[in-house]
Structures are given as structure tokens and as C-alpha cells.
Amino acid sequence: MRTWFSNNRWWLARLAALPLHLFAFAIVVFFIVRLVPGDAAITMTEGQASAEQLDEIRESLGLNEPVIVQLGLFLLNLLRLDFGTANSTGQSVFSDVISRVPQTLELTLMALFVAAVIAVLLSAAAVFAPKSPFALVARGYSRAAGALPDFCLGIIAILVFYVVLRVSPAPLGRLDARMSSPESVTNFPFFDTLLSGNSALIASAASHLVLPIAAMSLAYAPYLMKQLIPGLEEQVEAPSTRFRIASGGSRFMMIVSVFRRALPAVLVVSGSLLGSLIGGAVVMESMFGLGGIGQYAVNAVNASDYPAMQGVLIVIVAVVLLIFLIVDLLTLILDPRRRVGAVSA
């Protein structure tokens, strides 16, 4: 007898595993931070505190307790979403990090979207118009996967468009220095700017985002194309395409159907790309001064702010695992054959 539970096991199990993985990761992070040679209190104050001050800091960090008690406290605080206080900002690490996640996520998703558009257009050119010069360019470009580091493209973009051509604004923030950012509604900065409806603000925000997004999407589109071009080629030869040709379908219909069948494989790749894209976004943020998790992490590193670094690691992993879960579930929804314990129809 099939119950609701066994029918839905494929997504329930994944959903339940997420907090478990996160918890395990948090324990690892805890021990890594404890492995750091030297006295955390001395490192944090850069050796400029008196003995009593050091004692105080140790007391406040709970460093005088046995390790197992520290671990227990750490995990308990984690459950209450209390990651401690960031020394660099003086605020709660959790609210610091969470308020910056949307900024990074927005940049990442916009770059992924542009990369997907580039990949789809160029792959279509490569497969459906194989004799055109575009096809040659597209195939050559798809081989550049991994050979075009995103932050190199970012630097080149700054050098070409800011230093030499002087057409783009200085890579120092999301808006012109004279403008004040719009009131935050969603915490997604560009979306907020759009919501504000102020055309000058929107133009400024867009011009500040063009270069980082172009650099990221140009760096990552080849990865998608490497998957998409063979997929499309396979589907062009597939029986269902022949059937459509035989029954006199239009060229447009053919292209749509080929894409529809080739896309699930690409979805998986784009999901696993998101991890690298977030890493790329971190670099872009400090290169273009965009704020977000990346800049926060770099600041925390420069200030030897252990609680903030811990918090960044845990929240980033949570975000990445959540994205992977969503991609995973999307693929399973699109392709039920992959589900664990799926009943073959």
C-alpha cells in the first residue's frame, strides 16, 4: 500500500537532510576556528590589550569553558540564530549577514540570467545555423570554459571602460557618490531602486552593475554552452524531432521542442554553477565596491573578526545548500524518473 509519505519521500528526505547537513557543517566550522594556532583573544585585539582586558574577552567569548561546553553553547546559540556580535560593526552577526545576503544573491542571479541568455542564443546559433560565422565564434567561445576567470574579466572591464575609454562610472559602489540609496523595501538593492521609480537612480544603479554582471556572465556562459550544445545536437537527431519534421511542423516549433528537451540537463549544471557564481560575486563585490556578503567577509578578515567569519561561512553554506535543494527538486519535478523510490508508471 502506498502512503502519502512514501509517495513524497523524494522531497521530504531532501528537505529533512538540509538542517542536518548544516548542523554538521557548523560543528566542523566550530572546530576549525578552535584549531587556529595562538590565542583568539590576542589575535582579535592584535596584541594591544592588557591582561585583564584579554581575560574579559576570553570570558565574553566563553573561551575559559571546556571545549565541549563551548560547542554546546555554540550550537544552542546557532538554533536561536545568535552568531555572536561582530567586532567590526558592533552589531549582531546574523542580522549583518542576513541583510547582505539579498545583495549578493541579486548580483548572482542577474549574472546567471544574463549568462543563460548568452548561452541559449549562442548555442542556438551554433546548432541551428552551423555554417554562419556566429557558430564558429560560439563553438570557440564554449571551449573557453574555465579559461576566463571572472575577476580577470572584471579587471579588464574596469581597465577598458573606466580607465581607457572613461565611459563607465568609477567602480566604487552601487550608485553615484552624490546619490543616496532608495529606501529599502525588499533588501534587494537593484529591485529597490526599480521600485523607487526614480529614473536617475535606476540609470546610475544599472550603469554600476553593467560591468560586474557582464564579467560574471561572460565567464560562466561557456560552462552552460558546453552542456547545452551537445544536448541540442543530440535532440536535433532525436526521433521526436524527425517526427515533427515528418508531420510538417514549423521550424520555430522544432527549435522550441528541441530546447525543451535539452534544458533539464542544463538546469542541473546551472545549479552547480551557482556555487561558483556566488564565489565570483564575492570577488566582484570587493572589486566594484558593491557591498554584500563578499565585502563583509573581506572586512571581517581584515579586522580578524572571528564571529563574523564564522557567521559568513555558515550562512553562505546555508544559502548554497538551499539553492542546491531547490535545483534538485526542480530537476526531480521535471524528470520524475530520477526520484528515489519512484514507482515506475
Binding site: 571551449r143 579559461a147 580607465v163 556566488i278 564565489g279 564575492v282 573581506v298 571581517a300 561561512l313 545548500l321
Partner: protein, 288 residues
């Protein structure tokens, strides 16, 4: 599969293409070879000391300083060449280390996963952890780890190994899970081979191919992550010549419209990564 209905020219073309693709195109290894040469002998024939102030700061490229000088007055050309050794040496060690460790983890984990009891549980936990490690952005983990343990060559190599071993281990594990059930493994078992021997002499040689094929990609990625760490400020301690750190100082200088400090190390980085990718894809190309 030649049939009579196939037009003759098509067959000829295919035969020609097959012949062409059966040859190793040695010239595709030239860029990588030249780079290795530069890394080996370049630092010994530099025009200037790469870690010393040798001229007026912020000179544009000229006859004395081919790539100009940076904001501290160090010669950019000498530093770019000297950094080739640092960057490629560190990344090569990291790629070799992560491939070796990845293979060991992949084989031990993959072989033990179906075992009941604690051993199997640990192996399955290992597989899950490797998957999580593979999902986490390498740059963020690297940034935090290097910051915690202090930037030094050893730390950076270890951190690069940690962030790149997950992919290698995953590739090996997938292969081990396939190979494990093959009849030659059963044959070895029936011949009375020890389980450890089966693991390392029977299964390992037959399951490391994907990791070796991925070696050039790992190497390229290690170079990129290393430079990104340098760019974010946790690279080799200054004034060690290192492309990422040079790009960071150069980028700060670019705001004053001085392009050369960042442009040359960036170009060096792209040329290096592309050369490795070209050589790697030529090794990987199927030749039958």
C-alpha cells in the same frame, strides 16, 4: 558503418577527419611548455629585483621598465615573471595534493559505503561531506581559512588542496561505485586477495582516470582561486610577487587611470589559465 547509400565524398571527409584527429597536435602544448620554462628560468634572468624598489613609482611602460613600475616603484615586468614561478608552483602542488588525497578518499569511501555498521556509516558521511564541500564556493572558504590560519605559502597550498579535493574525490568515488561490482574485482576476491589489496591494487588503478583527466582543470582552478585570494588580500605576504596581489594593488592604482599595474598580471593570469586549458583539452581529446 559504411553503406552503399552513403555518398562517397562524405566517407572520404570522415576518413580524413579521423586521421587528423588521431594525431597528437603537439603545438597545442607549446604555450604551456613556454610558461613552464618561464617559471623555471625566468626569475634568474630578470632585469630588476622583483621585491625591491628600483625606480620612480607609477611610471608608464617605457624602455627601461617594459611594463612600467607600480605605486611602490617596483618593476612590473620583473614581478610578473617572478610571480609565474610562485603562482604555478603553489597551484601545481595544490593540484597534485588534491588529486592524490581525492583519490585516496574516493577509493576508501566508495569501497566502504555499502558496508553495514560504523565503517559504512562513516564512509557514507564522508561522501555527503565531500558533496557539501564541493558545493561551497571555494573562494569564500579559502578566504576565511587563510585568514584564520594566517597567509603563508603552506597555508595557501593546504587551503587550495582542501577546496579542490572534493571534485577529484567525487569523480573517483563515482568510478569506484561502477568498478566495484565488476567481475575482475570478484575474481581477485575469490583468489583470496585481502580487502585492502583489492582496494588499492585492483580498484584504484581502474577508477582514477576521471580524476587524472580533471587534473588540468584542477590546476587551472587552483591558479584562479590562488590569485583571487591574493586579490582579496589574503595571498602571499607582500612583497612576494604574486599575480592576485599585484592585480589588487594595480586595481587600486587604476582608479588614478594608471592601467599597467593591473593589466599585465591579469594578462599573465589569463594566458596561463588558457594555456593549461588548451593543453588539457588536447590530452583529453579522444584519439582512436
Amino acid at each position: 558503418m559504411t553503406t552503399f547509400s552513403t555518398p562517397q565524398p562524405a566517407v572520404d571527409r570522415r576518413a580524413k577527419a579521423a586521421f587528423a584527429s588521431s594525431q597528437l597536435r603537439w603545438w597545442l602544448f607549446l604555450p604551456a611548455g613556454i610558461l613552464v620554462l618561464i617559471a623555471l628560468i625566468g626569475p634568474t634572468v630578470l632585469p630588476y629585483d622583483p621585491v625591491d624598489i628600483v625606480g620612480v613609482p607609477s611610471q608608464a611602460p617605457n624602455a627601461d621598465h617594459w611594463f612600467g613600475t607600480d605605486q611602490n616603484g617596483m618593476d612590473v615586468f620583473s614581478r610578473v615573471i617572478a610571480a609565474a614561478r610562485t603562482n604555478m608552483f603553489v597551484a601545481a602542488l595544490a593540484a597534485i595534493g588534491s588529486t592524490l588525497i581525492g583519490i585516496v578518499i574516493g577509493v576508501i569511501g566508495g569501497m566502504n559505503e555499502p558496508v553495514r555498521g560504523l565503517r559504512g556509516f562513516l564512509a557514507r558521511t564522508l561522501a555527503r561531506s565531500v558533496e557539501i564541500l564541493d558545493a561551497v564556493p571555494a573562494i569564500i572558504v579559502g578566504l576565511v581559512l587563510v585568514a584564520l590560519f594566517g597567509p603563508s605559502t603552506t597555508t595557501i597550498i593546504v587551503v587550495l588542496i582542501v577546496v579542490s579535493l572534493a571534485r577529484q574525490s567525487k569523480l573517483v568515488r563515482t568510478e569506484v561505485l561502477k568498478v566495484r561490482g565488476d567481475s575482475f574485482v570478484d575474481a581477485a576476491r575469490m583468489a583470496g586477495a585481502l580487502e585492502t589489496n583489492i582496494m588499492f591494487t585492483t580498484v584504484l588503478p581502474n577508477s582514477i582516470r576521471p580524476a587524472l583527466e580533471n587534473f588540468s582543470a584542477t590546476f587551472g582552478l587552483a591558479i584562479i582561486v590562488e590569485a583571487a585570494l591574493g586579490f582579496l588580500g589574503v595571498g602571499m605576504p607582500p612583497p612576494t610577487p604574486e599575480w592576485g596581489t599585484m592585480i589588487a594593488t594595480g586595481a587600486a592604482d587604476a582608479l588614478n587611470f594608471r592601467w599597467w599595474g593591473a593589466a599585465f598580471p591579469t594578462a599573465a593570469l589569463i594566458v596561463t589559465v588558457s594555456s593549461i586549458a588548451i593543453a588539457g583539452s588536447e590530452i583529453l581529446r579522444k584519439r582512436h
